[in-house]
C-alpha cells in the first residue's frame, strides 16, 4: 500500500490568501484522488516563529517536508504574504495548482 504524503499548510492571519489556499489544496488533493482533508494546518504568529519554521510567507505548503515551489535563496523568513508566479508568468498569492500536483505525484513516486 502506498503511503500518503505528509502535507502541511503554514499560514499567517495577516495575509488574506489562506482561505483560498485551503480551498485550492483541497481541490488539488481531490483531483489527485487523495483525502482532501489530509493535511495539517499550522498558524505562524510571530517573526520568531517564522524564523524557526523557515516560513517565507503565507501560504507555505510542504509535502513530505518539501516546498513545491522553493523560495529563492536569501528570501527572508517573516510574516508576509508570499509571492508566487503562475506557470503563465502572472503574479499570484497562491501557487500554481499544477506545481502542487507535480509535487504530490513526486511524493507518491518516492513513497
Amino acid at each position: 500500500m502506498t503511503r500518503a504524503p505528509t502535507i502541511e499548510l503554514l499560514w499567517w492571519e495577516g495575509c488574506p490568501s489562506y482561505p483560498d489556499a485551503i480551498e485550492q489544496l483541497r481541490q488539488v488533493l481531490r483531483e489527485e484522488e487523495l483525502d482532501p482533508e489530509a493535511f495539517d494546518m499550522r498558524q505562524v504568529e510571530t517573526d520568531e516563529q517564522a524564523q524557526a519554521e523557515r516560513f517565507p510567507g503565507s501560504p507555505t505548503i510542504r509535502i513530505d517536508g518539501r516546498d513545491p515551489v522553493p523560495p529563492p535563496d536569501g528570501e527572508p523568513f517573516t510574516l508576509t504574504c508570499r509571492v508566487y508566479r503562475l506557470r503563465d508568468g502572472r503574479y499570484s498569492p497562491l501557487p500554481d495548482p499544477a506545481d502542487l500536483k507535480d509535487a504530490l505525484r513526486r511524493a507518491k513516486e518516492d513513497a
Partner: protein, 176 residues
C-alpha cells in the same frame, strides 16, 4: 481614520523614484487616482499591470494615477526607496509616478488598509471611489473595471457605480 465617499482628499507632496515631488492637487486636472501599493505584496503585483494600463489610457483625459508605497521598509526591505527605484528602472519606467510615503502620514490620512487600496479623487478634491481596482486579482481580463468605471463617471459628471468596494490585498505594513 478612513475617508468616506464625498470627503475632501488630503493633499500631499511626496517624492517619486527620481526624487521629483508630486502633489495631489494640480490645476486643470479632471481627476486623480491615488493607489496605495508596494513591491512585496502578490495582490499589488497581480493588479499592477492593470493599474499601469489605466495610467496610460487616461493620461490624455486629464487623469493622473499616483502610486504610493507606504510600507515600513525596516521590516520589509523589499519596499525600501532603493528597491522602489530598482523596480521602476527594471521595468524601463512606469506610466505613473511611484511615490514614497516614508512617514506613512499620507496612508494614515487616507486610512489606507491594504496594498492595493484605490481612491479616485475628482477635480474638486473629493473622494468619489474607494476600494479594489476590480473584483478579482486573478483575472487580468477584468482590466481594473471598477477603477475605470469610477474615472469614467467622474469625467462624465455622474456617480460611480459602485462608489465603494472592499479593498483587497496585503495589510499596509505600519511602523512600530
Amino acid at each position: 481614520m478612513t475617508l468616506s465617499i464625498g470627503d475632501e482628499a488630503p493633499d500631499f507632496t511626496l517624492p517619486d523614484t527620481d526624487g521629483n515631488e508630486h502633489s495631489l492637487r494640480k490645476a486643470g486636472e479632471a481627476a486623480a487616482a491615488v493607489v496605495f501599493t508596494c513591491n512585496h505584496c502578490p495582490y499589488a503585483l497581480a493588479w499592477h499591470e492593470r493599474i499601469a494600463a489605466v495610467a496610460r489610457d487616461y493620461e490624455g483625459k486629464g487623469v493622473r494615477v499616483l502610486a504610493i508605497n507606504p510600507n515600513d521598509s525596516d521590516r520589509y526591505p523589499g519596499d525600501s526607496y532603493d528597491a522602489m527605484r530598482r523596480r521602476v528602472q527594471g521595468d524601463g519606467g512606469w506610466p505613473m509616478p511611484y511615490l514614497r510615503d516614508e512617514s506613512q502620514d499620507v496612508a494614515r490620512a487616507y486610512g489606507a488598509k491594504t496594498t492595493p487600496d484605490v481612491f479616485v479623487v475628482d477635480a474638486e478634491g473629493r473622494v468619489r471611489y474607494r476600494g479594489a481596482p476590480d473584483s478579482d486579482h486573478n483575472d487580468p481580463a477584468l482590466n481594473a473595471a471598477w477603477l475605470r468605471e469610477a474615472l469614467d463617471a467622474v469625467l462624465d459628471g455622474r456617480e460611480p457605480e459602485p462608489a465603494e468596494t472592499k479593498p483587497v490585498g496585503c495589510s499596509v505594513k505600519w511602523k512600530g
